[in-house]
Amino acid sequence: MKATQLPPELRVPVITNYEEAVLDRIGNTPLLKIRNIVKDFGNKDIEIYAKAEWVNPAGSVKARPALRMVRDGLASGAFKRGMELIDSTSGNTGVAYALIGRILGFKVNLVLPGNVCKARKGIMAKQFKANLILSDPMEQSDGAIKLCRKLYNENPDKYFLPDQYNNPSNWMAHRDTTAREIHEQTKGRVTHFLAGIGTSGTLMGTSRGLKALNPGLKSYAVEPAESLHGIEGLKHMESSIVPGIYDTSVYDEKISVTTDEAYHMVSRIEDEEGLLVGTSSGAALAGAMKLAARIDKGVLVVIFPDSCEECVIAHGEF
């Protein structure tokens, strides 16, 4: 069969520009309606939608802030030609930096706690050739933050440090993309927005963006209920280094979710909705279900940050 005889949907052009092909696919993720779990509320007028962020290149919501921080760094001159990127991460941001570095052609150094799951380490190091520097697992993410800062301070001319915990470009990515997409996808009907807090960039940016479009919108931080928890990527703020971009005035309320509740919801999402999502997605929907139980009606949108099927199956092994 000649190429000209192919049906129109298969006639795709040859792609010569990787940056366009991959990086321009970051964002514009689907909004999925939670159809079955929501039946817990019977005939109550509750709709819940999940933003499927694992569809992004690099497999998570972190592709958005990682790309924005890199592009803003290049535009401002903070990230000069020949410099290497270094940052601390508990996983997803690292995978995103590693992919972007591979495409744009810069070296990526990632400082991560030794207990980040094997699957993520493999993607960062083997697939995208990032240099991994492991910090003491006993100190969790905060140990990685401190070690990264130390390495950067020893050699500030060598590295561009995006510093996802303190870089406004992190939340701006969500204000300018995630929030607009949710507004358009729900045709402005969204009434409640919920996101887990790690760097807090997703919650800060999306809440600001949505509230600018609809001042009546309520936004909620989903937080691990315990300091010792297993919800990957989320922070228990009271017992952690608080990110510089975190501002409690941006959201309306905090909803606490235990690790067991998050794990249980991951199983329900798999069994009842047919989606394999990460623990932080389970936490987000568990938070939305708690909120939905105490309101009469609403159009709720939650962020599902990743799928990480292998990590879910490994249940915290590393």
């Binding site: 006993m138 969790q140 300091s227 928890h229």
Partner: protein, 94 residues
């Protein structure tokens, strides 16, 4: 000689800020019971309500994951180091 237990930062609130504590016992269970008697509230952080070790808590005897030995019935001896490592998340006390 006793058994050395490495405490992750989120649990150091219970141990008065100490990252390493010593304990005694012949199995992981006994060591945790001993820690509970010295630091009340310790055990409930590691076990779920139905008495199972929480899935996101990883316990190592020296370099070995107890999942591959005999879970919390694994035996320990003087001089061993037990590390309690949660799945990755945030959480040190500043």
């Amino acid at each position: 000689m006793a058994i050395n237990v490495r405490i992750p930062t989120p649990l150091q609130r219970l141990t008065g800020g100490k990252g390493d504590v010593s304990a005694s016992g012949t199995t992981i269970k006994e060591v945790i019971d001993h820690l509970e008697s010295n630091y009340p509230g310790f055990k409930e952080k590691l076990y779920s309500e139905d008495g199972e070790l929480r899935r996101f808590i990883n316990l190592y005897i020296n370099e070995e994951d107890i999942r591959f030995i005999d879970s919390d019935n694994s035996t320990v001896k003087d001089g061993d180091t037990i590390s309690i490592i949660p799945a990755i998340a945030g959480g040190s006390i500043q």
